[in-house]
Amino acid sequence: MELDFSPVIAYAPTLLSGVGVTSLIALVVALFSVLGGLLVAVISVYTNKVVSWPIRFLIWLFMTTPLLLQLYFLYFGLGEWILIPALMVGVLGLGFHYMAYNADIFIATIRSVSAGQYEASRSLGFGHLRTLFYIIVPQAFIRSVPQIGNNLILMVKDTSVLSAIGVAELVYASQYAISVSFRPFEFFIVIAIVYYLLNLIMEFGQARFERMTADRR
């Protein structure tokens, strides 16, 4: 057993661009899944069953099937009718997957905001939508910060799965380098370290954000 990290150094620019793509995907998916999840949750809580049941069904479907299968379904399954670029499928697939998880949390926290808040706001002259936007949603959002943070940390790790459909993120970017240099162990160790660092950053950010919002929870 002798380890040789020189090919890793030689392909450092490729890996760095992979890190860039991974971070960019993570950022877009984070925004998409949190904002989308919030919207989906509000719609599903405050509308009638005709609208909310299909939404619940979709949330349930995304939560009970594997991410990889969902990605394959979007990429190959819908490929029968429309061809979407892999990057789009990756962002949308991962986004919808975590949107379902986030919406599930937001639904619970929206319900946990007491009905008195809604009534008080309405009696002070706020309309229905204004009450939701200014009173209910902010409180629910602050309450769900810890769990949403956990989901986002899981999401950053799951970006690696996108390499299975050919999105040029960190793992996929190194595939070529591995096939040329025959040094899979060294490359994957370095990739694992990069993900670990990303994870540490996420955990640090989560702890900071939780402390910032702790007194308002």
Partner: protein
């Protein structure tokens, strides 16, 4: 929708589903063992062992399961660790979920009031007796629930094993699509099978939960 095709491929997919179940059961049992060892090491008053346990959990939880799988399968031979795909899937799944389970088990054990432990020790129970007769029965409900959630995560993660060419549900689905060009039908069937497996796990967890908490819920009702 091509119903005939769906009927035709169902037996093949069920066969592959058994591989998914097989891999998951082995990984869960082995992973539970790994978790128990980690919790045990963490509970010892020996600093290096505690550091090892904490470091292991941190590293495993801090890196993607997918990268761990690729590292062991493709990188393993470099350091003399050659495994067939199935064994690799079981081992990586077990050592991955073990880290998560150790945190779940530790959380459940710590949820039992420390007074219970002290009272039991002062009544003359040894450490092991305290654990088995006093702490575990009270922690069992929470432990079963959180380990059950992780078991479901493991079942869903097992689809990633298809990347290293284990012929489980996802891999079989892809292979069938390659020969039939009907992705929509086959992926729908595959999804239904995953949902069935997940619900079976949920059912087993619920039964185990009821059995484990039959006395504690009784006590609560009497109180």
């Amino acid at each position: 929708m091509d119903v005939n095709l769906m009927v035709e491929v169902t037996p093949l997919l069920i066969k592959a589903a058994w591989i998914t179940i097989d891999i998951s059961i082995r990984a869960i049992i082995l992973g539970f063992g790994v978790a128990c060892v980690l919790v045990f090491l963490r509970s010892l008053q020996i600093k290096p062992l505690q550091w090892f346990s904490r470091g292991y959990v941190s590293v495993i939880r801090g890196t993607p399961y997918f990268v761990q799988l690729l590292l062991v399968f493709y990188g393993g031979p470099t350091i003399g660790l050659t495994m067939d795909p199935f064994t690799c899937g079981v081992m990586v799944g077990a050592f991955n979920i073990g880290a998560y389970m150790s945190e779940a088990i530790r959380g459940a054990l710590e949820s039992v009031e420390s007074g219970q432990n002290e009272a039991s020790r002062s009544l003359g129970f040894g450490r092991l007796q305290t654990l088995t007769y006093v702490v575990l029965p009270q922690a069992a409900g929470l432990m079963i629930r959180s380990v059950g959630v992780l078991a479901i995560v493991l079942v869903k993660n097992s689809s990633l094993v298809s990347i290293i060419s284990v012929v489980e549900l996802t891999y079989q689905a892809q292979r069938l699509i390659g020969s039939t060009y009907k992705p929509f039908e086959i992926f729908t069937l595959t999804a239904v099978m995953y949902i069935c497996i997940v619900y079976a796990v949920m059912g087993i967890v619920e039964l185990a939960y009821r059995r484990a908490t039959r006395y504690t819920t009784l006590v609560k009702r009497v109180q």
